[in-house]
Symmetry: C2
């Protein structure tokens, strides 16, 4: 068989010609085109090829090919430390841009860091720590030029919420902090592993629809949490859902402080106004980038001068100065908390990764270069591992900072270094100044930051394009605000995966007809000019055939035959069922069993089954099954529908 002319198996020379041995129309079956199996390959070669397609679809090592060993080593070092690639070519002119960008980002990063740390129920200083070490690590390891690194609101919220269920952050802040560092370590290990194992495609399961719904829900939850700061409430519920928070807000009207509300409202309006300005005119990006810092400075001065803290306006209070201490000894692998820290690390890690990689890809595409998602995951993961040992919590490339960075004209990751140094100066010298910063202003900063996550326009677009995607989106949103942040995410991802599985369980199967005067066959339902060929049912299965859908396919085809045979149009003299397998790209063992069962079922109705154009793997498996069970013959395999119809029509005329 291996010596067959076409380097595959030639069906015409198959010895299964016993089905209609001396039929007078035999010549008509002589096929013009032959259906071939793909050229034989060793299993090892096949597996190697599959592994490459699976884990290296972007072929990141293509530059390594054919290089001498020394060059390969250099390339590898550069691959893992992209800084070695760009730093030697660094110029002073670039530094000017990077300096400006770094300072602008820092003015956003400092108030954001303090606010987000509070969102995670962590001491505010942890937020600044996390804006100091991680950007330096990323500058060395990261391959994106415009990504600015720091904590993000949603990961902060999730970490605060999940860890609070295990430990009360107010009752035992030291233990809570230990859990946060440990979760950060797990997040980093998880992220780096995904990158090293090249399993980055896992984040692809967070579809656009899921993200839009989830982000909007998280933004609502985050904003609601800020009511505590904005209204000056002291008794706030531990639970984060809409219902408990709103109940608490209504129940504690006696705690509301009008001074706090007034101040919060003023600064929130100011921040939203600057945000609006920058959206209208992107050149004014620096207004919204600088507004949070301006708000902090103005409000702090105000409190300090008027002693406003005595008038029911809550302030951050004393913060100690100094840089990040080591936190390796604070990692906690105690059995009691191992579960919750691992889970928190997993969820925050994947959320952080999704934002980091998406932002990196977006800015790379804007600037016309390309980043390797898996490499980027390793960088972010290592950054978090280092962070967990230096008193930082989960960080990633953030959208808000990167947008400012990009708009401010950054050229290289040096802008991250500038930002880190600015934060360092703040940590060393300016911390006492924050003692009088009112909580209400931090709340306003958070709200104005997360409000941009609610993307109604995209949600509307999704609604227009695809109702099921919209369902995924809206259930993510409702799940987050009514159940829990991770619950909503789970529901939304679950639904989108269920949708895919469901499509496979109920694959499309179309009846085809001939477009007159051509040899084109198309879906009768879509093309009104396509016409049925008497004597044939031509079916096109448009999905992989596997265990999940063989029962359905069998049922469905049986029903078509029965409908056909009971219809008045029995004149059609049905004789052949043609199965166009062009779109069936894989079958499993259940699929092969289905072909054999279907042939038997069809035979009971006095009909014959014909296969058209089985592709690669399907053809291989059909052949292997035929060797074992000998179930299809010379006149039941064609390369095109047209050829099958022409060849077989002669038999239909022969039998009246």
């Amino acid at each position: 068989m291996d010596g067959a002319p076409h380097n595959g198996i030639d069906i015409c020379n198959d010895d299964n010609s016993d089905q209609r041995p001396n039929s007078p129309g035999m010549e008509a079956v002589a096929h013009k085109y032959k259906v071939l199996a793909p050229p034989k390959q060793s299993t090892v070669k096949k597996i190697k090829w599959k592994l490459k397609e699976t884990f290296f679809p972007d072929d990141p090592f293509k530059n390594f090919k054919g290089q001498p060993a020394r060059k390969k080593f250099l390339l590898a070092v550069k691959y893992f430390f992209p800084i070695l690639d760009w730093l030697p070519r660094y110029k002073l002119s670039m530094f000017k841009s990077d300096l400006l960008a770094g300072l602008t980002v820092a003015s956003l990063a400092i108030p954001q860091g303090i606010s987000y740390a509070k969102l995670a129920n962590l001491p505010p200083i942890i937020g600044l720590y996390s804006s100091f070490i991680p950007p330096l690590v990323y500058a060395v390891l990261g391959s994106s030029r415009g990504l600015a690194v720091g904590p993000i609101s949603i990961a902060s919220l999730i970490m605060g919420g999940m860890l609070s269920e295990a430990v009360n952050p107010y009752a035992d802040p030291a233990l809570f902090l230990q859990l946060a560092f440990t979760s950060t370590l797990f997040a980093g290990v998880f992220q780096a592993s995904l990158g090293i194992l090249r399993l980055g495609f896992i984040i692809d399961f967070l579809s656009k629809a899921t993200l839009v719904g989830f982000m909007a829900g998280a933004a609502v939850i985050v904003s609601l949490q800020q009511l505590k700061g904005l209204l000056g409430i002291t008794h706030f519920p531990k639970k984060m859902g809409v219902v408990p928070v709103m109940k608490a807000v209504v129940r504690t009207t006696n705690e509301w402080s009008w001074q706090t509300i007034l101040m919060g409202a003023c600064f929130l309006s100011f921040l939203l106004f600057t945000r609006h300005l920058s959206i209208k005119n992107p050149k004014l990006f620096w207004i919204s980038a600088g507004a949070p810092l301006a708000s902090v400075i103005i409000s702090t001065l105000f409190v300090f001068i008027f002693n406003a803290q005595d008038y029911n306006i809550q302030v951050i209070g004393k913060l100690k100065s100094g840089l990040n201490g080591p936190s390796l000894d604070r990692l906690l692998f105690d059995g009691t908390y191992l579960g919750v820290t691992m889970e928190t690390g997993l969820v925050t890690g994947i959320i952080a990764l999704t934002e980091g990689v998406a932002v990196g890809r977006a800015f790379a595409s804007l600037n016309g270069y390309h980043i390797d998602g898996n490499k980027e995951m390793m960088a972010i993961g290592l950054m978090n591992i280092v962070g967990s040992c230096t008193s930082c919590y989960v960080t990633t490339g953030t959208f808000s900072r990167s947008a400012v960075n990009h708009n401010a004209g950054c050229k290289t990751p040096i802008s991250n270094v500038v930002m880190a140094i600015t934060v360092m100066v703040t940590l060393l010298l300016l911390m006492p100044l924050f003692a009088y910063t009112p909580n209400a202003v931090l709340a306003a900063i958070i709200i104005s930051a997360v409000i941009g996550l609610i993307d109604i326009q995209t949600a509307y677009h999704i609604y227009k394009m695809d109702k099921v995607d919209f369902l995924v989106c809206i259930s993510g949103f409702l799940g987050v605000i009514f159940i829990s942040v991770q619950g909503g995410l789970g529901i939304s991802v679950g639904l989108s995966i269920f949708r895919i599985l469901f499509q496979i369980t109920r694959p499309k199967i179309a009846i085809l007809g001939n477009i007159q005067g051509t040899d084109i066959y198309r879906n009768l339902h879509q093309y009104k000019e396509a016409q049925r060929i008497p004597g044939f049912i031509i079916l096109s299965v448009e999905a992989p055939i596997n265990f999940a859908n063989t029962n359905y396919l069998h049922e469905r085809i049986r029903r078509w035959i029965e409908e056909e045979q009971t219809a008045e149009s029995k004149v059609t003299n049905l004789q052949y069922i043609i199965l166009d397998l062009s779109s069936v790209l894989t079958v499993d063992t259940s699929g092969i069993a289905f072909f054999m069962d279907l042939k038997k079922t069809i035979a009971k109705y006095g009909l014959q089954l014909v296969f058209v154009n089985p592709v690669g793997e399907v053809m291989e498996k059909l052949q292997r099954a035929n060797k074992l069970h000998d179930f299809y013959g010379i006149d039941s395999l064609f390369l095109t529908i047209s050829e099958a119809v022409i060849s077989l029509s002669s038999f239909i005329k022969l039998s009246p």
Copy 2:
């Protein structure tokens, strides 16, 4: 637009012709065939059609159409109570066959019932109860003619194992029994709901490979459990895995009773020999069907006559006579045990359903009729609901009993009634006789029954056909014997679902070439005579395009273009990327975004993107997206690859 000639939207008349407005080759683009969207349908109609295809692919109500209301009502009653359909036509000649079949099945059912109940850690009499009421219920509701009903080994094992984790069956047998009845109720409710909601396809997710591995593993576990009875061990571990059982067996050699071992070995050999005989010659089925009862009778007589119970041979002991009592008051919905009973009900329910429906379908197909899987699930579910209120545990259509029933020539479910009456007589009169039945014989009966579940031949066949399926199979097997029965099932099902998802994450995408002298385009890799067309990359995507694979597709296509452009063969003068969408049956919003992004990416390389043959839904969504974003024009949409190549080739010649 709705008035366009072809009842769809005619791309040629589209006003998007601005892309190459006065191009000299314009005439060449005038399409011969037009890509149409499916005729417009109201959303309600679409949803209705989709629901029908989803939940009623077998169109069970087709006989109802166009009938008067009275006839419809009668048909509906007959649909729910199939007995009304066949009982009026029942003849005495049929009864002779059914009587013989029923008695033969009963001779198997009685020892099986007692043994399987012991497997579930339940009193032996529950097994007989479960062979009395459920067959009667099934006779009224079931639509399969040959199905014989009773408990099955694997569901018994799982129920015993899962409930033992919550309650010790020896320490608190009454509570254990309550949990068993409650689980049975949940199993029934779950089964009936699946049927009523027409979600029967859920059981399709247990693929052949999963079942082969899982069954074999369960058979090993069940057989190992029988070592207790066969060796006469009194201290047996609660855990069921291979390791703990083998450890216990080795550690308790002092408890082994040679008398028990001798007796067990004799009867096991006898049973395996009769099984072998019946497999060799199916006409001798009655030998293996009667062997268990014969073994019970002989061994019981032996013990009774020689007082063997005094020689270390354990016997069942006294059983009370009498029929099933009501057990409605023993159902327990206490919060402590609700979780475990629901979970047990779910797992045993789905296992029972899988065997029942598969056996029903197999025998229906053998006898040339057809059963409605969802209707059958309702019948089995109701049977278990009634069972749970009448002291029965989970039952279903069993393979072993149905095979005997079929071989013995049963004609209708009356054979189930005969079996039930025989069991009833046993319950009323013969129970005292079982007091002397040795446990070793029951163990031998179980082993000889489950050994048939190990299907090495099919496993080998799977290995030959599909290595991944074999992995699914073997991991199910190993999971069951080393982790837990439900764990192994979970791993196996999880793997098969992961495989499907994985196929979608890494869809096949083939480069096509032209088969010379024809207008056929086929995979270059599969057909060596297919040839590349200079100036084009023709890609065929063979999967739905959705959030899970858009990143991969983008990466992959980009890589191809780069390879092409850096290759020495730059003479090919690449200008067009043709995307054959014939096999893309659905896109979601991410997929549409992918098309738009890809167009932009490709434009950066100076190339143009062309779509060929988008089918139904894809075409609709492309149009909708085009209305919003206007991203493809008149010369980027063709019905066939051949047409696209012919039309566009003229442009390639124009631009050197």
